[in-house]
C-alpha cells in the first residue's frame, strides 16, 4: 500500500519536473543572453516619426509624441511572414489592451479593398491604418516587413522586432507586460 502510494505520488512529480524542464527549455530557446525574447532588439532611443493616418472606416488616428507604450506594426498583404504573424497578433491584441499598450497597425502601400479583403480572411477583428502612399512606412525605416516598433511613453523608439513574432506566447507577453510595469529609463 505504502509502495503504491509512493509510486503514484512520484508520477505527478516526474511529470511536473519534466513539464518545468520543457518550459525552461522553451523559455531559454525564446530568450537569448540579453534577456529579451528572440528577435526583439533594443535600439538607441530615437524619436518616433509622428503621423496621422485614416483607418478602413475613414477614422483618423494621430500618433502623439507622448502617451503610454505604443506597439507600432507595419505589414502588407503580399508579405508571407506578415500573413503568418497576423493570427498571433490578433490573439495578443486584447492582452496588450489590458496591459495599457496601444496597438497601432499600419498597412503599407495598399488600398482599402485589398486590406479589407485580406484581414477578413486572416484576422477579421484586427484594425489597420492605411499608409496608402507608403510615406509613413518610409519615415519609420523598417528593416523589412513585417516590422514592429515599441515606442515608450516619451515618444522614443526603444525596441524593434525582427520579422514576425509569436506575440501571444508567454515570453513575448511577459516582456511586453514588463515594459508597462517598470519605470521609464532615463
Amino acid at each position: 500500500m505504502r509502495r503504491g502510494l509512493r509510486k503514484t505520488g512520484r508520477v505527478p512529480l516526474v511529470v511536473m519536473l519534466a513539464a518545468m524542464l520543457a518550459t525552461a527549455l522553451l523559455w531559454a530557446a525564446a530568450a537569448p543572453a540579453d534577456g529579451l525574447p528572440r528577435g526583439i532588439m533594443a535600439v538607441d532611443p530615437r524619436p518616433a516619426p509622428l503621423f496621422e493616418l485614416a483607418d478602413m472606416d475613414g477614422e483618423r488616428y494621430r500618433l502623439r509624441r507622448e502617451g503610454g507604450w505604443r506597439f507600432v506594426h507595419f505589414w502588407a498583404s503580399w508579405c508571407g511572414p506578415c500573413r503568418r504573424e497576423m493570427p498571433a497578433l490578433a490573439r495578443a491584441l486584447p492582452k496588450l489592451a489590458d496591459m495599457g499598450i496601444e496597438v497601432v497597425i499600419i498597412n503599407t502601400g495598399e488600398n482599402e479593398d485589398t486590406v479589407f479583403e485580406f484581414l477578413a480572411a486572416v484576422a477579421p477583428h484586427l484594425p489597420s491604418l492605411l499608409d496608402t502612399d507608403g510615406s509613413v512606412t518610409e519615415a519609420w525605416r523598417p528593416r523589412g516587413l513585417p516590422a514592429t516598433f515599441l515606442v515608450d511613453p516619451r515618444g522614443d523608439i526603444r525596441y524593434l522586432a525582427l520579422g514576425g513574432r509569436p506575440w501571444d506566447s508567454a515570453p513575448y507577453l511577459a516582456f511586453l507586460r514588463g515594459l508597462t510595469t517598470k519605470p521609464p529609463a532615463e
Partner: protein
C-alpha cells in the same frame, strides 16, 4: 450608395464568404518555382527563380497596370532570402554581390532604374512603395536569427546565372568575408 459607404460589417460578411470559397479552390502548381538553398555555419541563402506568369500574377493582383507588368515580365526575377543562423551580426551590401552569365558580368536592375520607369508610366506612389518593399534589401546588418528577403531583378536570357553572394562578419563588417557561389541558376520559364 458607393462601395465605400457600405458598412464594414456587411463587407466583412461578404468577404468572409468569398475568402471561404477562394481557399476551397485548388492552388496553382508551384512546379515553376524550384528553390536553390545554400547553408553554411553562418547563414542560409535561398534563391527561387520566378516565371513571367508568376511575376505578372503577383503584381497584377497588387494593381500594377499592363505596361508595368510587361516590363516586369520581360526580366529575370529571383527571390532571395537570407537567414542569419549564427549568434553574430552578418553584414550585407548588395553591391558586393556578383552576377555572371557565360562568364561575363551581368548588371542587375537597380532601384533608381525602376523609379524612373514607374515615374514615366505614372505608377501611383503606393504601388511604387509596394514594389520597393518586394526588392531584396540593398544593405542590412542581419542580426542573429533575422531573416529578410526580396527580389533580385536581372536581364532575362536563356543562359543560366552564376551568383556570388558576399557577406561580411565582425565589427562593422571588418571580419571574415563569407562567399557563397551558386550553381547555374536559370531564369524561370512559364
Amino acid at each position: 450608395m458607393s462601395r465605400c459607404q457600405v458598412s464594414s460589417t456587411l463587407r466583412l460578411a461578404g468577404l468572409l464568404l468569398c475568402a471561404a470559397l477562394v481557399t476551397a479552390l485548388p492552388r496553382p502548381s508551384a512546379a515553376a518555382s524550384r528553390a536553390y538553398e545554400y547553408k553554411n555555419a553562418w547563414l542560409t541563402l535561398r534563391l527561387i527563380p520566378r516565371s513571367p506568369a508568376q511575376i505578372r500574377a503577383f503584381y497584377e493582383a497588387r494593381g500594377f497596370p499592363p505596361a508595368a507588368l510587361d516590363q516586369l515580365a520581360a526580366t529575370c526575377f529571383i527571390t532571395a532570402s537570407v537567414h542569419n543562423r549564427s549568434r553574430r551580426v552578418i553584414w550585407h551590401r548588395l553591391d558586393d554581390w556578383r552576377f555572371r552569365r557565360d562568364g561575363r558580368p551581368v548588371k542587375r536592375y537597380r532601384r533608381d532604374w525602376w523609379r524612373e520607369r514607374w515615374q514615366a508610366l505614372g505608377i501611383r506612389p503606393g504601388l511604387r512603395a509596394t514594389f520597393r518593399w518586394t526588392l531584396f534589401p540593398e544593405a542590412l546588418d542581419f542580426r542573429p536569427d533575422e531573416g529578410e528577403g526580396g527580389n533580385l531583378i536581372l536581364p532575362r536570357a536563356a543562359a543560366p546565372l552564376r551568383i556570388e553572394a558576399v557577406f561580411h562578419t565582425g565589427p562593422n563588417g571588418t571580419g571574415e568575408t563569407l562567399r557563397i557561389t551558386t550553381e547555374a541558376i536559370p531564369c524561370a520559364e512559364d
